[in-house]
Amino acid sequence: MMKTADLRDLAAWIMLTDAPAPDLSPESAKKADFLNRHGQNLKKQIEDAASREEAVLIIDLVSEEPGSGFNAELTERAGERMKAAAAALAGAIGAEKIIVAAPEDISWAPEGAEIVRLECSPVLREDSALFHILETGELRSCPLDRAFPSQGYKGLPTVTVGAEDLLRLCAMAEPGYTETKIVIIRTGDGASVAEVPTGTTVGELLKAAGADAPKGVLAGGVTGTFTRNPESCAIGTGSMFDSVRAFGEKDCMADQTARLMKQALDLSCRKCVLCREGSWHMAEIFKGITEGKGKKEDLDMVMDIGPLITAGAFCSFGQNMAACAVSSVECNREELLTHIVKKKCPAGVCSAFSKKTYVIDPAKCTACGDCIDECDEMAIEGKRKFIHMIDQDMCTSCGKCVSACDEEAIVVNNGSVKVPKKLTKVGKF
């Protein structure tokens, strides 16, 4: 279990509470007039399913980024309350089948439920994608438009809820309900769990958690957005994020964005062109920036293609991952430009900028070959009587050759040592 965030007055432990589950009648579940984890009005789903035969209840514990831990945390902290809500909901719709879609590390399940093991993916926040993977095992976002209304899982009337939706159902049945949101706060010190009233801003949340004046803030993960004004970023129930992340001086925002975009590329179901190819281009651009190959135009490219991907991608995953890249450029432009123009990583994270350049001083080298024998990368060229040379493309700057050289000829070049460009006899350079 994660730490519990010490938020003092800000905390509102209404959903995440040790209190025994309230006595939920199936009727109470029908009052669930809020948007579920998949952005659908739960009350409408319940009413539709209740009026039809063979209703299915799907409990979604997989529509999160791998490593998020959000759903695991909720099942551990309030599993019993979730079960009570699931039972009430199943009763309300007369569910003939309950499916729990869960990753390997979550063992929670209500009685009689069928557990389907899946890998976590934010793509599964789309109803259609979740139904499709349950039906076929294939991760693929599918047509779900007004023209092709979701027929539900296997064409059956289906209600889909997340862990938080179940906890909200419980909370709503108790007196003095106020609307809250559960959030994981990630800082340099690790992750902690918080629950705050909706309307609380990300800034307030981070301040209360002690992450004051962070360098950068990411609301959500790969489908979230970087924000410059956490104070004006209010937390709501339907928000696409389960976590808030504060970055400090040790974090490189170019590196962080590159990681997010690589994750987006890996997570994309690859069905639609904009998400499949867009995530690749985004990942390439930010990877290039961290490797010192960035160009100013790269940022323009992100700002050019990003909003179009958001406008045109098939599902919310693709739309949001592009928005994440765009928000990074907006919020982290200066740090990105430092990488691109000054070829420096201020946080000292991007190794491409910190690589030491070892050279062999041609004045000291005796062509003994000891360094050649020592190098695991075969990065040192040279033969008897010829000054040895280090191939900088192959050198990993491990420094082993330095200690192998009795002549102390191998040094970190600060620009003062001139080295031959081709094999040159000892003494002839």
């Binding site: 294939e138 693929r140 599918c142 047509p143 438009d145 007004r146 023209a147 092709f148 590329l265 890996d266 690859r270 069905k271 639609c272 062109v273 904009l274 499949r276 190819e277 867009g278 690749w280 281009h281 390439e284 135009e297 490219m301 050019d304 293609i305 179009l308 991907i309 406008a311 045109g312 991608a313 098939f314």
Partner: protein, 713 residues
């Protein structure tokens, strides 16, 4: 069908069905919305993002291929964001696709190139992301060059949803989505080789091998995609009748054949099956045994087709048919059905022509032939005059006939001008086979056949049946180049014929005026120059085949009665009748000539096909509409969902049941036809092998943006 709804697209008010998508409604009204992953026969997926549009009052863009029409919708297809999204999608696809179009076999027919031309180039400097996968040319029929793939998924949907086969699928390979074969080869993936994937691929990624592409180049879609039907001179709808057989509906299968030919059963025995030569199954292993399926169907004729056959009212016109072979009888049949009064003049004692006097009875039972001829004559205004030779064709016009149809055939065997060709014991093919039919033929103990075609094989078979102990066959062609079909050559070999390929025969030797042997000599390459064979004789390879009977089977010439000059028609070299048009017109108006006497020795099916064309032309000449098409079989629903057949690609051609050799030669007069054809089980096995190439025609052809402008704004 849903309800009628009215919506506005780009300012135009249109009426659509509520079951239609916005894209379908727009295209129906000539409003082009770019689309790539969408295909009329496939479920939409909305993955290419080309068809996004703006809908008034709706946040974000709407995917028009998956959004159904609703009353009152206001759609803008030229919304700026939508257009920019399309351009970006196009840019992205081109970054994975080879930049060079001109080397692509799909150049000029590529939907990606076409669409990019429509949406326009942005000049965006995106990094190239080529797909590093090699061309896969190892599979039969279909080749994959997936480095051109844009992952529209049409092929996968066609294979999975439409065909129910699933031989190809999406898969992540090295972190990248790809379309891959669902197994180590298409055969092992149980591919049905229907080529639906080829048909729907918008780019040059999935194609047919060049050999197949080249063959269909220049043909219409139907002709190109269904080679068996195209290859059949009469264009019998082969896949259709094979499907009827598969459904167990044998009589309908026969009725389908009947729609094009009046001799289905006879053809089932002896057709040279050009359809099989075209059959695409040959690229997997061997062609489908179409002829035997045809015969099987004919064996289950229930005569129901007769109720649907057309019979036009009498026209009072008279047609004379000279020669009662397959062409003449076909012409008589359709001529009479068209309402004309037909008289057939047959020089011989019985009708049938080559079917009777050229093809031995052990291959084509005479009761079958007689029944089919009876079917032709039955109820039709056809007068038959056998033993009646016509000396001058045009003279019949003066005798009250309105048109004359000449189909005298080629019943004169060629006797090559070599020493000894007139020795006692030397015979010619046509004469020999005719006398075999009438029971007057005889041979010695050692027979040499000169020639290597199907007629030569018949002569060889007849010789054995007449008691020959040895039969040698010598021909110019190499083993693989013999003009006899592989099947007939195999029969000859089974029966014990010794083949002497690549041989010329400079001399027939004799003793006391009787044949004693044939000198044969090896030849090198041979070719035809000015109609004459030219070849190099290889010195020192001469040998003598001892013989007491020699049969020339090196070709046949037209039987122009008595005096060719007096026949009244312009002839060409070798007494063939000169053709003056595409449908058998001759030098004399009102006289048509078809069949072997015009084309040279071909086949029964060619003669029938030619006769159909000519009689149609004659009908037009006589004031009719020339239409002889008829629908004798039920309508057939082609189910696109063909499903999986395990090891489909490895199913071997079904061999017919054949009477074994000693018996079929020894007891030929009592054991019936040598080839027993198929029973139900064999027919059903063989019918299942059909690739159903015709299903591809049911897929909508690919359209391009410029195809939609008609009727547009």
């Amino acid at each position: 069908m849903g309800e009628k709804v009215t919506l506005t697209i780009d300012g135009r008010v249109i009426t659509a069905d509520s079951e239609q998508t916005i894209l379908q409604a727009a295209l129906d009204h000539g409003i082009y919305i770019p689309h790539l992953c969408s295909h009329d026969n496939l479920h939409p997926t909305g993955s290419c993002r080309m068809c996004v549009v703006r809908q008034e009052g709706v946040e974000g863009l709407v995917t028009s291929c998956i959004t159904k029409c609703e009353d009152g919708m206001v759609i803008d297809t030229h919304d700026e964001t939508a257009e920019n999204v399309r351009k970006l999608s196009c840019d992205f696809m081109f970054k994975t696709h080879p930049a060079e179009c001109t080397g692509c076999p799909k150049y000029g027919k590529c939907q990606l190139a076409s669409i990019s031309q429509y949406v326009g180039d942005t000049g965006r400097k995106l990094k190239a992301n080529p797909i590093n996968v090699k061309a896969d040319t190892e599979n039969p029929i279909i080749l994959h060059e997936m480095y051109r793939c844009i992952l529209c998924g049409r092929c996968v949907r066609a294979c999975e949803e439409l065909r129910g086969v699933g031989a190809i699928k999406f898969d992540k390979v090295d972190g990248r989505l790809r379309v891959v074969v669902n197994g180590d080869s298409l055969i092992h993936a149980n591919c049905r080789f229907c080529t639906a994937c080829v048909e729907v691929c918008p780019t040059g990624s999935i194609r047919e091998h060049k050999e197949i592409m080249d063959r269909i180049e220049g043909r219409t879609r139907e002709d190109g995609y269904v080679p068996c039907r195209f290859g059949c001179p009469a264009h019998i709808d082969v896949p259709r009748y094979i499907r009827f057989i598969k459904q167990g509906n044998y009589a309908q299968a026969n009725a389908t054949v009947r729609e094009k030919v009046p001799f289905p059963h006879s053809l089932g025995y002896i057709c040279v099956h050009d359809c099989e030569s075209e059959c695409k199954h040959a690229y997997l292993n061997e062609p489908v045994s179409i002829r035997n399926l045809k015969r099987f169907a004919a064996e289950h004729d229930d005569g129901e087709w007769k109720k649907r056959a057309f019979h036009k009212p009498a026209t009072g016109k008279k047609i004379a048919v000279i020669g009662g072979g397959p062409a003449g009888l076909t012409a008589a049949y359709y001529g009479a059905k068209l309402g004309h009064s037909v008289t057939v003049f047959e020089a011989r004692e019985k009708l049938g022509g080559q079917l009777r006097y050229g093809i031995p009875s052990y291959r084509l039972p005479r009761e079958t032939l007689d029944r089919e001829i009876a079917d032709i004559l039955e109820g039709n205004d056809i007068t038959v005059k056998t033993g009646s030779e016509v000396a001058n064709a045009p003279s019949l016009l003066k005798e009250g006939f309105d048109a004359v149809f000449v189909s005298v055939g080629t019943h004169d065997g060629v006797r090559l001008p070599i020493p000894g060709n007139d020795l006692d014991g030397v015979q010619v093919n046509t004469d020999f086979l005719r006398r075999f039919e009438t029971g007057e033929a005889s041979v010695g103990k050692h027979v040499v056949i000169l020639g290597g075609g199907n007629v030569a094989v018949d002569c060889a078979g007849a010789a054995f049946r007449l008691g020959a102990e040895t039969v040698d066959m010598a021909c110019l062609e190499a083993y693989d180049a013999m003009t006899a079909t592989d099947e007939e050559r195999a029969w000859a070999e089974e029966e014990g014929v010794v083949l002497h390929n690549s041989r010329t025969f400079p001399e027939i030797q004799g003793e006391n005026g009787h044949v004693s042997g044939v000198v044969i000599q090896k030849v090198g390459n041979f070719r035809k120059e000015n109609g004459r064979m030219v070849f190099d004789k290889l010195e020192g390879t001469e040998e003598v085949l001892p013989a007491d009977t020699v049969i020339f089977a090196v070709g046949q010439r037209p039987t122009i009665p008595m005096d060719p000059e007096a026949f009244g028609l312009e002839l060409t070299h070798g007494n063939y009748i000169a053709s003056k048009g595409d449908h058998g017109e001759t030098s004399v108006e009102g006289v048509w000539a078809v069949g072997d006497a015009v084309t040279g020795t071909r086949s029964v099916i060619s003669a029938i096909a030619f006769a159909r064309e000519a009689i149609s032309a004659i009908d037009v000449y006589l004031g009719g509409d020339g239409c002889i098409e008829e629908h004798l079989a039920d309508e057939q629903v082609r189910d696109p969902h063909i499903g999986v057949i395990e090891n489909f690609g490895e199913l071997k051609r079904t061999a017919p049941r054949v009477v074994p050799v000693p018996e079929r030669v020894r007891d030929w007069q009592t054991c019936g036809p040598m080839d027993l054809g198929f029973d139900d089980t064999l027919a059903s096995c063989e019918a299942a092998r059909c690739l159903q190439c015709d299903l591809r025609c049911d897929l909508k052809p690919q359209k391009f943006w410029n195809d939609y402008t008609e009727g547009g704004v």
